[in-house]
């Protein structure tokens, strides 16, 4: 029976020999991302900026200009109108109003009334209003969540492996997060609370990948005590390549289904996830492992406690969490 194989049976691709190029490229991409964010900024959604967002469906094809005109006439400041998913749907965003949440609510009601007057039969599908107080807190909570996740992971990997592994993993995570934020800045997709959720999931996913590679590195370090580190890394990456590609593929399949079929509301989220899975898979090899190689590992621990003839079996007794 023929089987689908994403990676050939036995690969021995010298991943680590290309590491300088890869690391350099990653570094350049990360710097470019930061520059993009610094120059262009992010297209913050109302979660972080405060303001009003209204999704409406018009009876026929929506006339974006007409909608913009109707809302702009209210004199509520910056108004952005865009088509949303299909031609009858529009998404209207109005900047935060001076004053507290009640002022925002009043403005939202005004917009709704203006739409209903301008376009008979319009259906208001979604209204979101975020006051200035909450939006400030949400940014803070989001940043805190990311920092907490990275911190917790740093500690966990450190406990389970060695500090070099920990730094390698975190370098890969930061790389993934920075590149994702950069892409959001570049394509001007809305950056909102669900993107923070996506970033956290990307962290989880990318780490998943990195840990699988590292786990094999740890095993192989015990097995091939005399092999230079870069060879051990190469062997480990090659051995886990089938799994890496397979899991990325199934996850991507699910995400693409969600992206295409899941509706407009979560499209930004799924876009971030798809990007994150690709970048995360790349970074497990070319950032995490490359950083590990750069830092080197102390191999004393691989000898301590291992009986003769096989470090490999011992670690399982040590599935200590």
């Amino acid at each position: 029976m023929r089987r689908l194989r994403l990676a050939p049976e036995d690969t021995s691709i010298p991943f680590m020999s290309g590491r300088r190029w890869a690391l350099g490229g990653s570094l350049a991409a990360a710097v470019a991302s930061l520059l993009l964010v610094a120059v262009l900024g992010l297209n913050f959604g109302i979660d972080f900026r405060g303001g009003i967002m209204i999704e409406a469906r018009t009876p026929g094809a929506a006339d974006v200009r007409q909608v913009r005109g109707a809302v702009s006439d209210l004199g509520l400041g910056d108004v952005a109108v865009q088509e949303f998913g299909r031609e009858s749907d529009v998404l209207i965003r109005v900047e935060a109003q001076p004053g507290d949440g009640d002022a925002q609510m009043a403005a939202a009601a005004e917009v709704e009334r203006a739409l209903e007057a301008e376009i008979p039969g319009v259906e208001i599908r979604r209204v979101e209003v975020v006051g200035p107080k909450v939006s400030g807190e949400l940014i803070w909570a989001g940043a805190l969540a990311l920092a907490a996740a990275v911190g917790a992971i740093l500690v966990y990997i450190w406990l389970r492996f060695e500090w070099q592994f920990s730094l390698g993993a975190v370098a890969a995570l930061v790389h993934d997060v920075v590149l994702t934020i950069g892409v959001f800045s570049l394509v001007r997709l809305e950056f909102n609370l669900s993107i923070i959720a996506a970033l956290l999931t990307i962290i989880g996913y990318s780490l998943n990948d990195t840990v699988v590679v590292f786990d094999r590195v740890r095993e192989n370090l015990r097995k091939y005590k005399q092999k230079p580190l870069d060879e051990v890394l190469n062997v480990s990456i090659n051995e886990t390549l089938g799994r890496t590609l397979m899991t990325s593929a199934t996850t991507l399949i699910a995400l693409i289904a969600l992206y295409v079929l899941g509706g407009e509301v979560i499209r930004g989220f799924t876009f971030a996830m798809i990007w994150g899975v690709v970048v995360g898979t790349y970074s497990s090899v070319f950032v995490a492992a490359a950083v590990l190689l750069r830092l080197g590992v102390t191999r004393e621990w691989s000898e301590s406690g291992d009986g003769p003839g096989g470090g490999a079996g011992v670690q399982f007794g040590g599935a200590q969490v």
Partner: protein
């Protein structure tokens, strides 16, 4: 070598059975919900063939917990409001002033002349003495006005007032303990009143919960606009009756010390000068109902006072026949009719220019009582029912397609073992659904995304194992040994990989709100079930198969 202990087999079989049984009701989501609603209605005494038919459509011995849908899926309004608890502090100090004045007057010889100083600090009552010599005595007298803070289980706490002397000024402030106790009370009252108001409208399953120090989250399913909810919960609904001194068009009218100037709700630019002291307040109401004026046919609100309120209202109206009195709601005069005769029956009627809806709403507000403090909106999210239905449909399609694609992919990659993994994946999704139903989690759109992602990532543990078995098989170890070591050696990678993702999900849960939390819940539970299904369920299948087939070589 591929031994599977009996208790493990039992655990796997039981878990799978439970997963199927408890997730099944979700396939018949609306039937189950209708049956539950019908049973509830019948328990409360409702009858009808429709109800019985609905109830019998899903027998009550079957498990009937289904996953609750979030507001973004079923449509509804979500409001986060903040209660101005500081208002109550200021009120307490305001109410203290007459008492304090009396106490100091009683000690006039020692304290000397004094007056209240208006300051910018609403948290302090400042009294200025002509003669600083009396300050300590005054402070001592004011300290006697303090009451012990009710300390809950710990018995009475310290005093509720802190009095300090600052030169010629004696400053009274609330202690931190008093503020905390007061805030607790304010929040409890606000929650209760908001709940009553929303319950009065007959909405099904609203969520009203406290968030943090001074916030309340209100979620009302099935409501098309948050404004509707806000007009119901956002109003303080403080009702008072005052005698009218005069009416004026001048907003700058100077009022005497015992008078207040209140704008009219009906006519902009019209103001009433009222007696500061209220004749009766809204907390004396026992009932309020919308109705129609028998003469004009206009919508009105009929109300009834309790005994004390009725007596007081009777006395005042009999003494003031011919004078107008004002009905004041939240600082606006709704109506100011003239007293034609003494109103002794304890019931009356408020007319203004009401519509049927606004009369209905005011009646609800009056019945539920006034909020102890003002409420402001911090955040609002409303989803229309159509968008919700579209999101569910889109989510369902995405789940099904993702599911089929992953199944096909796994089958093509691992053959028979892929089939085992697929069976485990199906059971895994059942387990996830069952868990979500049983713990009463709410499914949101991001939650659906979490499920889809779980489907994609759940196979990871299996992939790790299978790839490992492949490797071990290449080393020509014999089938049993390859499977055994494959499982063993993949285990540490599985643990590490999933613990880290689980960490991320936990952080997401603890920091996120609403939809993000929904995502964290499905992702976190999905990790648990997928680890279980890979390490136990798939393994069980493999063990069963191996015991029967006894293959010499492996084709993973």
């Amino acid at each position: 070598m591929l031994q599977f202990q009996t208790w493990k087999s039992a655990l796997v079989i039981l878990a799978c059975l439970a997963a199927v049984v408890f997730s099944a009701p979700n396939l018949f989501h609306s039937t189950v919900q209708r049956a539950e609603a019908a049973r509830e209605a019948m328990a409360e005494g409702a009858e009808g063939p429709g109800l019985e038919a609905a109830a019998s459509a899903w027998p009550d011995w079957l498990p009937s917990s289904v996953i609750a849908l979030g507001l973004d899926l079923q449509g509804g309004a979500h409001l986060l409001v903040e209660v101005a608890v500081e208002d109550v502090h200021a009120e307490r100090l305001e109410a203290l002033w007459p008492e304090a004045r009396q106490a100091l007057r009683d000690l006039r010889e020692q304290v000397g002349p004094f007056r209240r100083l208006e300051t910018d600090d609403p948290g302090a009552l400042t009294i200025r003495l002509e003669d600083p010599a009396g300050a300590e005595i005054a402070a001592e007298a004011l300290r006697d006005l303090a009451q012990p803070v009710s300390g809950g289980l710990l018995g009475p706490g310290g005093p509720d007032l802190a009095v300090s002397v600052e030169g010629r000024d004696v400053v009274v402030r609330l202690t931190e303990a008093a503020k905390a106790a007061m805030d607790e009370r304010t929040m409890a009252q606000s929650l209760e009143i908001i709940r009553r108001r929303i319950d009065e409208t007959g909405t099904r399953e609203p969520t009203i919960q406290r968030q943090g120090e001074q916030r309340i989250l209100v979620q009302v399913p099935g409501v098309g606009s948050a404004e509707e909810v806000l007009s119901l919960i956002g109003r303080t609904a403080k009702l008072t009756f005052h005698l009218v001194e005069s009416a004026t068009g001048d907003a700058e009218t100077r009022t005497g010390p015992n008078e207040i100037l209140v704008p009219s709700a009906e006519e902009p630019g019209r103001f009433y000068v009222l007696e500061r002291r209220a004749l009766v307040t809204g907390d004396r109401l026992t009932d309020a109902q919308p109705g129609f004026d028998p003469q004009t046919g206009e919508p009105v609100v009929n109300f009834r006072f309790d005994a004390a309120g009725a007596r007081r209202f009777g006395e005042v109206t009999s003494r003031n026949v011919g004078r107008p009195f004002a009905v004041v709601l939240d600082g606006e005069v709704i109506t100011a009719p003239t007293i034609r005769e003494a109103i002794t029956g304890g019931s009356g009627q408020i007319s203004g220019s009401f519509t049927v809806e606004s009369a209905q709403e005011l009646a609800i507000l009056l019945r539920a009582g006034a909020l102890p403090a003002e409420i402001t909106v911090l955040e609002q999210r409303t989803v229309g029912p159509d968008l919700g239905a579209d999101s569910i449909a889109a989510g369902e399609t995405a789940i099904v397609v993702a599911f089929l694609a992953v199944l096909a992919f796994m089958g093509a990659s691992y053959g028979l073992f892929g089939l085992f993994a697929n069976l485990a994946l199906i059971l895994n999704v059942c387990m996830l659904m069952a868990l979500l139903s049983v713990i009463g989690a709410t499914l949101t759109l991001p939650g659906i995304a979490g499920i889809v992602l779980t489907i994609g990532m759940a196979v990871d543990a299996n992939v790790l194992i299978f790839e490992r078995i492949r490797e071990e098989a290449k080393r020509a170890k014999g089938a049993a040994r390859a499977i055994e070591t494959g499982y063993e050696r993949a285990f540490s990678a599985i643990v590490d990989a999933n613990v880290t993702t689980f960490l991320a999900a936990t952080i997401l849960f603890s920091m996120g709100s609403g939809p993000v939390r929904g995502f964290a819940v499905t992702l976190g539970l999905g990790i648990l079930t997928s680890v279980f299904s890979a390490t136990m369920v798939t393994r069980f299948f493999v063990a069963q198969w191996f015991a029967r087939a006894r293959p010499k070589t492996l084709a993973v």
